[in-house]
């Protein structure tokens, strides 16, 4: 009974907002869960198992799986919590995938959420780093990303304006997504004039802080016909969480055969070989990438093989990654428009599913058949999932 093929068959999410004081975390989770169940045409009773994820210190809740039972639907059911930092949402998706692929569960509810309004996000992120070596002298997520951007610009000659193009692109896409948090029609000039947070990263380059939840139904090939929407098949998953210390990624870049973003490149190599991707720009119909800030939208394209090293700026400025382009990136508006951190990775998978099901509304990519979703987090870690319209010939893991 093992080795089932797995599809996303139901999608639910809250509108992503800066603050949701009208609900508790449990009630926020419930909004997304009920939306997913309704979308899939099933009830709580039909769910065989639940996977939930968020980052503990953003809400200060220990054992979120057991705390949120009233909202997550786990009363007298199996529930498991996973947590890997920013990659949590994609980690949730992978855990739900393996629940079903194992043959042990047919219908699995995947939940990812965050109420970032309830804490000091940067204060909580600082605690992610080693208390001896990193924490005493390190100032949270923005600074870590700024180090990457500085190095990227020095090595490739990319400019702040190149990054601003990504910031503008994703925010334009968000205008077509009623669930996105930021709805602002930015220009490159506006991004360039926004205040520096940590050079070269400006306010306009960064993702917002968001309250939101996302829930998906993962189903086995045996039951996908019971659902009203066509399945969005998970073709493969892969991840690398390579390091423990802030400075590790930079050392490794120089050491390991000149890799650029090793975690992403190693995960990419594995997942592309599983699915047979050799020309991602032409093979993928869309990509939903966890871009925590704009510069990532340049460099990740290179590590994902959409262009050569240093080719990110030219690729995005060509319009190939805009809606209407060859391979639209972040039709949902991406992380730069909504970042309820724990939910963010799962929202990437959700958008891929909606696009493959032809249900993405005004931002629908015509005839989308193959999509890439990524998660970013931890210490420059990378999670990747490939989804497709066509049922895979065999389960690929």
């Amino acid at each position: 009974m093992a080795k089932k093929r797995v599809a996303v068959t139901g999608v639910g999410m809250t509108k992503q907002r800066s603050s949701r004081p009208d609900v508790t975390g449990i009630e926020l989770i419930n909004e997304a869960v009920r939306a997913a169940l309704d979308d899939a045409g099933i009830t709580r009773k039909d769910v065989d198992a639940i996977v939930i994820g968020n980052m503990d210190h953003f809400e200060g809740i220990n054992y979120v799986d057991t705390w949120s039972v009233d909202g997550n639907g786990a009363l007298m059911k199996p529930i498991m919590k996973v947590c890997t930092g920013g990659t949590t949402g994609t980690t949730v998706a992978m855990a739900a995938y393996y629940h079903v692929a194992s043959g042990l569960f047919d219908k699995v509810l995947a939940i990812a959420w965050e109420k970032n309004s309830e804490s000091d996000t940067t204060g909580a992120i600082i605690t992610a780093f080693d208390p001896f070596w990193d924490r005493p002298c390190f100032a949270g997520a923005v600074a870590g990303l700024a180090l990457e951007a500085t190095q990227y610009m020095a090595e490739t000659g990319a400019t702040e304006e190149d990054a601003a193009y990504v910031a503008v692109r994703d925010r334009k896409h968000a205008l077509l997504n009623p669930y996105a948090h930021l709805h602002i029609n930015l220009t490159i000039e506006m991004v360039m004039e926004s205040p520096y947070l940590s050079w070269p990263v400006k306010m306009g380059d960064m993702c917002p802080r968001t309250d939101g939840a996302c829930a998906l139904i993962f189903a086995s090939e045996d039951v996908v016909d019971e659902f009203p929407h066509r399945p969005a098949w998970i073709l493969a998953v892969a991840d690398r969480h390579l390091w423990a210390y802030t400075s590790d990624p930079y050392v490794n870049q120089k050491m390991v055969g000149g890799t650029w973003f090793p975690a992403m490149e190693k995960a990419t190599e594995e997942i592309y070989s599983k699915v047979g991707i050799t020309d991602p720009l032409n093979q993928f119909d869309l990509a939903e990438l966890y871009l925590p800030y704009s510069f990532a939208g340049l460099r990740y394209m290179e590590s994902l093989g959409f262009c050569d090293r240093g080719g990110g700026p030219e690729l995005v400025r060509s319009g190939a990654t805009d809606l209407g382009g060859k391979c639209p990136v972040n039709p949902s508006g991406g992380v730069l428009s909504s970042n309820a951190i724990g939910a963010t990775g799962l929202l990437r998978v959700a958008e891929c599913a909606l696009q493959l099901q032809g249900r993405a509304g005004e931002r629908q990519v015509p005839n989308a058949r193959l999509a890439l979703a990524t998660g970013f987090g931890g210490c420059f870690w990378s999670d990747e999932l490939i989804l497709g319209v066509d049922k895979p010939e065999k389960p690929r893991g």
């Binding site: 603050s19 949701r20 004081p21 009208d22 609900v23 508790t24 009630e27 419930n30 869960v33 009920r34 169940l37 009830t43 709580r44 210190h57 809400e59 200060g60 039972v69 009233d70 909202g71 639907g73 009363l75 109420k115 309004s117 309830e118 804490s119 000091d120 204060g123 909580a124 605690t127 208390p131 001896f132 924490r135």
Partner: protein, 157 residues
């Protein structure tokens, strides 16, 4: 090579996670805490399908997921379902000086119990199934500690 581990005194760094939190009570929790604060009354919500009266109130039934939109006023007395007399004071956690107790109290009109503090009791006076009543704070701020504690109902024997 000398054994550098010998007689080594391990260095220990002290730290504290300092993350401030602001937990929203939500619409349902706010109505409950407002009523507690302004009217000294406990409120529960009823599941329209299961007919269970939940206290603390729920926005949705944890079982059938129906919206629990019916508000039910509960008594400020109830039955003690369990209790434990705390014997060790915790400087950062203990809400009252010893002796105090924790209890699970099913208020009159509710189907579920809720957790609170017990005080103003004699040694041996607490019992599962006994009646307890809420003692409210004079100055109330809209949180669960607006109820100072519960105590045994006097003079019902």
């Amino acid at each position: 090579m000398e054994n550098w581990r010998e007689n080594q005194e391990i260095i220990v760094m002290e730290g504290r996670i300092k993350v401030p939190y602001t937990w929203a009570a939500g619409e349902v929790g706010t109505r409950y805490l407002e009523t507690l604060r302004d009217q000294r009354k406990f409120m529960g919500t009823r599941c329209p399908r299961c007919e269970i009266v939940y206290h603390p109130p729920r926005r949705n039934c944890p079982d059938c997921f129906e919206e629990c939109e019916d508000w039910v006023e509960l008594g400020s007395q109830g039955e003690l379902q369990s209790y434990t007399v705390v014997r060790r004071h915790h400087p950062q956690l203990s809400p009252l000086p010893l002796p105090f107790a924790y209890g699970i109290i099913k208020l009159d009109g509710a189907d579920t119990g809720f957790l609170h503090i017990l005080s103003d009791f004699q040694e041996g006076e607490l019992a599962v199934g006994s009646r307890v009543e809420a003692v409210f704070a004079e100055e109330r701020e809209g949180n669960i500690r607006d109820v100072l504690f519960f105590r045994p109902v006097k003079g019902v024997d």
